[in-house]
């Protein structure tokens, strides 16, 4: 590298220094020039003044994105290109021990068939053991991952065509309640501001999984999932799965989760409300 010490820093060099992209071997050179050149210092200050909280300001644009419509168009594009064949498993554990979930694409293929009514059994594909491998212990969160993936395929359009009619919902809740061994009157699972749209009896790993789908006029689909997998009581906790917000808890041997695009704080409020309503 040539001797650049006599070269005056350019505005490109100044920007690089401001952004932490100046080569390490030029830092001292820059400091030296700034120390002795008032004009350069003034320019440096001007460029520094040109900085803003850009990522904060642009963060608001992310919130303004029309997510429901974007997801619909993606779903449409995916549906026009179904995966041709089953693929090699890309499943296992990373070094840190964190789970590597089977690709959503496979789940989506199976669930698309289910939503189209093509499958007789309302069984969500098992995440582990998909390719013959079974761990001795199923991860406790596995059912939540499967359920969240299923819910992630819902769009507002999926639910908005369903008329608001309590009678069929009551019947469905009765059937679900029998399967889960719980009383589920409509009043116990109602949520303020949301329309109850669909109640489904599913299964995961051979155990009953209820899914109660609501529609929020602003944030789209929300699902309350109840899994009779046998679990110790636990207080509500938050997480994110498949880009959705989740609040989950366990009580009386059943595991519950609320999952959707609604803000986590609202899900937490609903979780508290449901725990109160369901013990009445």
């Amino acid at each position: 590298m040539g001797d650049f010490s006599q070269e005056r820093p350019t505005d490109a060099d100044l920007v690089a220094q401001l952004d932490g992209e100046l080569a390490a071997d030029r830092l001292a050179w820059m400091q030296d020039w700034l120390a002795r050149d008032a004009e350069l210092r003034a320019l440096h200050e001007l460029l520094a003044k040109g900085g803003r909280r850009f990522d904060e300001a642009f963060g608001a644009l992310l919130d303004a994105a029309p997510r429901q419509r974007l997801e619909s168009t993606l779903a449409g594009a995916l549906a026009q290109r179904p995966e041709a064949e089953i693929v090699r498993p890309s499943f296992g554990r990373r070094g840190s021990g964190s789970r590597v979930w089977p690709r959503l694409g496979l789940i989506a293929a199976g669930i698309a068939l289910f939503l189209a009514g093509a499958l007789a059994q309302a069984e969500l594909p098992l995440l582990s053991g998909m390719f013959g491998e079974r761990s001795s212990e199923q991860a406790e969160d596995e059912w939540r991952q499967a359920a969240a993936q299923y819910v992630s395929l819902y769009t507002a359009e999926t639910l908005s065509n369903i008329a608001d009619d309590p009678a069929p919902r009551e019947r469905e809740l009765g059937a679900l309640g029998k399967k889960l061994g719980l009383a589920l009157p409509l009043t116990s699972i109602s949520l303020p501001g949301l329309s109850l749209k669909r109640v489904q009896v599913l299964q995961y790993d051979g155990k009953p999984l209820g899914q109660i789908a609501y529609l929020d006029p602003h944030d789209g689909a929300l699902a309350l999932c109840i899994y009779d997998g046998g679990s110790a009581d636990r207080a509500p906790a938050s997480e994110q799965r498949v880009g959705l917000n989740v609040v989950y808890w366990s009580t009386r041997g059943r595991a519950f989760m609320l999952v959707g695009h609604l803000p986590a704080s609202r899900l937490q409020e609903f979780a508290s409300l449901l725990t109160r309503q369901m013990t009445l």
């Binding site: 505005d11 490109a12 920007v15 001007l46 900085g51 909280r53 608001a60 644009l61 994105a65």
Partner: protein, 175 residues
């Protein structure tokens, strides 16, 4: 026969929709065009998913697809139809700004950035909002890294003069 990379594209698209829309909004200045760009990007990404290298940055790959569609298709069409783009240095007005819920300061930043010339605006967005390194931005924009730097400097200089109490700075030399 599907493979690792194709599945990654199919599964990964959903997570990047909002950021793609935002990029489309920054490029076009219009919400409807941004949606069109996202849709076209999804279709193109799925068509080309076999080219995606599993484990590499899906977001960068999607951004380059969106950009290419904007430059080669949407933008070109708008120029031909005379829809408000005159040349490479046109300043765009941000049509959806009023609908964005944000504070006054953030709105001011957005307005100031949208007022920058196209090339500076996009470079600033990629580096200071999306966090690309200079080299990554240079690759995506298909320009030399020095061009990235001088665009950022020009943008900062404009914005710096807008700040209250901006000092008199010398004319830029060393082009």
């Amino acid at each position: 026969m599907t493979d690792e990379g194709q599945l990654e594209v199919r599964a990964g698209l959903a997570a990047h929709l909002a950021r793609l829309w935002r990029y489309g909004l920054l490029l076009s200045g219009r919400r409807d065009a941004a949606e069109d760009l996202v849709q076209a990007t999804c279709v193109r990404a799925l068509e080309r998913s076999g080219q995606f290298m599993a484990g590499s940055r899906l977001d960068r790959w999607l951004f380059s697809i969106l950009r290419s569609i904007w430059l080669n298709e949407l933008r070109a069409r708008r120029i031909r139809q005379g829809e408000g783009i005159v040349d490479a240095e046109t300043h765009l007005v941000f049509d959806g700004l009023k609908q964005v819920e944000t504070n006054i300061l953030a709105r001011q930043v957005l307005t100031q950035v949208q007022a920058l010339p196209e090339a500076q605006r996009e470079t600033l967005f990629l580096v200071y909002v999306e966090g690309l390194a200079y080299r990554e931005a240079a690759q995506l924009l298909e320009v030399p890294i020095g061009t990235v730097m001088s665009r950022l400097a020009a943008a900062r200089e404009s914005l710096g003069r807008l700040s209250a109490g901006a000092i008199d700075a010398p004319a830029r030399g060393n082009e």
